[in-house]
């Protein structure tokens, strides 16, 4: 890997080697990319490390046909270089194309390794399933009931002008190359998208597709494609998962009957052959295929007239797949109309009676009867997508700018300036060096502890114990660093303060990482513990801290306190590290997606240890800065800084979800809070206004950041 400063050009080269039309720029945030583009980034990243052994796990799940070809070309390059590739996939044809040898696993046991050319597709399926699947797909149907769903010129975000009809007992496939509007279309049907024109009739009556609630009421139920995010409640039991979509069936005398839920769930488990220890098992512990069968059972239990299924077999093994196909055909034969969206043309061809193909958000082709073949569907999709839709949905300029890293600093800076200008016009004393100097001292203290908080939040943590730690540092100092103390004693005091800070940081880390407590709970406990230690050491404030040292800490150049210059320099240095040093990059990576960072070879436990120790050391420095204002060992002196530091970070644009933040932003956030407090004093407003302003500004700032980031991701 090149130095961090040349990362951008390096990434651009790598992406260009994949294809010159990826549409991905190195400066894009990955969350703003489509699923397909994300996969390309992922694969390019894996190839860039020039591995000896490359493991690819279902790499083509989100790729279009031409990208699968590109991937195969690159895999062959890798093997030509002498490296080995392990390619895991449930797409048998792809494995046959790319592999030299193949190994089949069933129920966790190896079924043998064979030369890839020596096995036919049927033989491979036989190995996977462990028995002969005479027919993977059940026979199709030719007799349908009356029409149940009619769409008239339906359009919305991502698709337009879709008209079609669907009869009872019919399975309709929705195909096309991914991201051509078919996902948007089925989500809109389910009430999860936006419909802007046209209408849908179910059973002859207009259906409101404004939300999943109204869609279900109209008789349309939806099985989500992203099972983990939208399909299951991973920590809840099978019973709760199953009953969640049809709770009215378990209502007896106004109460939810657990025995009725259990009975219905057990029936579904039997009927759908779900392998599970029982109805109370958390669904997250089952295999993908069993989860999918249970969710399908739950959706079917709502008794829909129209069933919309997004990717029925994603992440499902071959055996369960055949069962799901059989179940769907069975449902159709009993009168349900089914719409199936799948990126696998073979699946649609085998399962569906009729297929519509999407391209660029429009229904471009309809295949029925003999035309429903894999080649027919792929051909229809490819013929009409010779040119990819280049026009992306635009986001209004302001929101895009507001989602950037610079926006919080500019906005908060402007607010500080405007408030300052207003106050100085109202009260001349405000702009004196004495007042500004005093404000800068307060800002530097708050900013320093906010940097610590920010460092932790970058890796998705939070530290409530910073406030008490500032007090503890001060209390420890008040035993050693006194007037008339010898140099040796003072050095000892310094060491004790450092030890206290590092000790608290290490304790927090131990609780959060090895003991796996929630950061909030862990640091709440240390908040109380550290405060207790301070109170035991100094039940009441006492111990005047060495005056010479205090005046040294309070040195000013002109009216600017040295402490402020130190704080500002630290902000710049940390900010530089964040963007230009490997450690900063590692922090941001870990905070954005811990799992991915770990797989990329970053050590999460050690990085978190750095973050916790760093936070404590910065808090220690803040504690030293506070000494000049307090001058005495006061165990309660720092308490307010816990919440203030969090406020400073979020006003400065940091996110509690981890992965993004700014130390300069935290400095501005701290300045803003001090500015509000000072301004209300100068304007003669009462304490209530101080609270209103602070609360209101936090809400305003965070609302703007969060809205803008949401808009950018959604686009």
């Amino acid at each position: 890997m090149p130095p961090v400063s040349r990362l951008a050009s390096w990434s651009r080269e790598l992406l260009a080697r994949w294809s010159d039309s990826t549409g991905i720029s190195p400066s894009d945030r990955v969350e703003t990319l489509g699923a397909e583009q994300r996969f390309i980034v992922e694969i390019v990243k894996a190839l860039a490390s020039e591995p000896q052994v490359l493991v690819l796990d279902e790499p083509t799940e989100h790729l279009a046909a031409e990208d699968v070809e590109r991937l195969f070309r690159r895999v062959r390059e890798v093997t030509a270089r002498g490296a080995a590739v392990v390619y895991i996939s449930h797409r048998i044809r792809e494995v046959q194309t790319i592999a030299d040898r193949l190994t089949v696993l069933r129920d966790g046991q190896g079924q043998g390794t064979y030369p890839a050319r020596g096995l036919s597709e049927d033989e491979i399926i036989h190995l996977i399933v462990g028995m002969d699947l005479e027919e993977e797909f059940p026979p199709k149907c030719t007799e349908f009931g009356p029409e149940v769903l009619r769409l008239e010129g339906l359009g919305g975000s991502g698709f337009s002008d879709v008209s079609l009809g669907l009869r009872r007992g019919e399975i309709l496939g929705v195909g096309g190359i991914s991201d051509n509007g078919q996902q948007d279309f089925v989500r809109a049907l389910a009430g999860l998208g936006r419909v802007s024109s046209g209408r849908a009739l179910i059973g002859g009556k207009p259906a409101d597709l404004g939300s999943p609630i109204t869609a279900m009421r109209a008789g349309l139920s939806y099985l989500p494609g992203d099972r983990h995010r939208e399909g299951i409640f991973a920590e809840l039991s099978l019973r709760e998962n199953f009953a969640s979509r049809s709770p009215l069936k378990d209502r007896i005398a106004g109460f939810a009957s657990r025995s009725s839920e259990t009975r219905r769930t057990a029936e579904a488990i039997r009927a759908y052959a779900v392998k599970t220890p029982g109805t109370e098992t958390p669904i997250g512990s089952l295999s993908g295929g069993n989860q999918q069968k249970l969710v399908l059972a739950s959706v079917v239990a709502t008794g829909p007239k129209v069933l919309v299924i997004d990717e029925p077999t994603q992440g499902v093994d071959v055996g369960a797949r055949a069962e799901i196909y059989r179940i769907l055909r069975d449902l159709a034969s009993r009168g349900t109309a089914i719409i199936v969206l799948s990126s696998d043309a073979a699946e649609i061809a085998g399962l569906c009676d009729r297929v519509v193909v999407f391209s660029r958000g429009q229904l471009v082709s309809e295949l029925a009867g003999e035309e429903v073949t894999e080649n027919g569907i792929t051909g229809a999709a490819l013929r009409s997508t010779a040119v990819r839709d280049g026009a992306e949905k635009g986001t209004a300029g302001f929101w895009k700018w507001a989602a950037g890293d610079l926006a919080p600093i500019v906005m908060v800076g402007l607010a500080i300036f405007a408030l300052g200008a207003y106050v100085s016009a109202a009260n001349g004393y405000y702009l004196t060096g004495r007042n500004i100097g005093g404000m800068l001292v307060l800002i530097s203290t708050l900013a320093l502890v906010a940097y610590g908080q920010q460092a932790l939040m970058l890796v998705g943590g939070i530290d409530l114990s910073v406030g008490p730690l500032m007090g503890l540092v001060q209390v420890v100092a008040s035993f050693f660093i006194l007037d008339g103390a010898t140099g040796g004693l003072m050095a000892l005091g310094g060491a004790a303060m450092l030890a206290a800070a590092l000790g608290v940081g290490f304790l927090n880390w131990c609780l959060v990482v090895p003991l796996r407590l929630h950061p909030m709970v862990a640091t709440l406990a240390t908040y109380m513990g550290v405060q207790a230690v301070s109170l035991i050491l100094r039940p009441a404030p006492g111990g005047m801290i060495n005056g010479d040292l205090l005046s040294l800490a309070g040195t000013r150049i002109g009216f600017v306190p040295v402490m402020f210059l130190v704080a500002a320099a630290i902000a710049v240095a940390l900010e530089w590290m964040l963007y230009r040093h490997g450690l900063g990059l590692a922090f941001r990576a870990l905070g954005s997606k811990p799992e991915v960072a770990r797989m990329a070879g970053l050590p999460p436990a050690r990085l978190r240890l750095f973050a916790y120790l760093g936070c404590s050391v910065l808090t220690l420095i803040a504690g030293v800065a506070m000494m000049e204002q307090v001058g005495i060992g006061d165990p309660r002196a720092g308490l307010n800084y816990t919440l203030a530091s969090i406020a400073a970070v979020v006003i400065g644009g940091g996110s509690l979800f981890g992965g993004r933040g700014s130390f300069v932003g935290a400095l501005f956030g701290a300045a803003f809070i001090v500015q509000i407090n000072t301004a209300t004093n100068f304007l003669g407003l009462n304490a209530a206004w101080q609270s209103y302003l602070l609360g209101g500004m936090i809400i305003l700032a965070v609302a703007v950041y969060s809205k803008s980031r949401q808009k950018v991701v959604a686009a």
Binding site: E230, E235, R270, L524, G529, A688, G695
Partner: protein, 327 residues
Amino acid sequence: MKAQTFAAAAPQSPVFRLRLPGEFGWIWIATAALFAISAIVAPGTVRPASLSAMLPFAAMLAIVAAGQTIVIQQRGLDLSCAAMMSLGGVVVAKLGFAADSMLLAVAGTVAVAALCGSLNGLLVARLNIMPIVATLAMNAVLLGAVNMLSRGTPLAVPDALESFSHRDVLGVPWTLVLSLGFLLSIAVISARTLIGRRFVAVGANPRAARAAGMPVLAYQVGTYGAAAVCFAVAGMLYAGFIGSASQNAGTDFLLPGIAAVVVGGTPFSGGRGSVIASGVAAVFMTQLGILVMALGAGSAVQLLIQALVIIAATAVRELPGILRRKA
């Protein structure tokens, strides 16, 4: 393939397996043990007189903890708890004297609290603001309101409220009866009704809940509203109990309230939770404080022990999982 469906269900040796209490069972054992220990080392703390002095505080803490529990079940945390409690006391005092009817005053206070809480919910659910930030900001705003209403000095409360807080039924303090009623109704709603089922599902996975046809926003907003009502009720009781409504009445309940939820066993991961366990934990924490005090330790030691209890309580539930992973 069908044969395997239920066959896999049989555990290996059900007879000799050591049954550990569930995540919400530990607190009952711990509380029973604490009272047993109290009876031995400091019998004074379990006499009826000292119990009836302790229980009202435990009851108020339990109501606060119940509110915090339901918010934590929705993956949140309500830091506006402190100001909401203070607001409850101040508003009921103001309205009580203005309306000259306790019933109206209480109803008005509950309505104000529900409104402020729903605002919290909207900030979190609609504007996507992190819960602790939204409620931190709301806390500041509410403190401003309390400050404005009380003009910075503690307010006297109507006599009716004061006598209500001190009344008892057959020797059981009213506050305790009321808090039991609160906890039981929340527990019954969340365990036995459609609302409760959906509430748990929304907390466990809001996106899946939406796709499954649940009114997610209403549940999220409603949760913060209900929590705020809990805090305000505790605030009213507390104001009645000490005879005045002050600005920092709630400060002493914020951290112990969260601590009680943690000790009770409700995880921060959303969905699952138990208000009853939180209520029992409130009794546990209060009695623990009194025991420590009776043994001659100061408030600092008390704080230290609380911290250790929080760590022990969470660690004891995590330990089996950690050991299993290591093995």
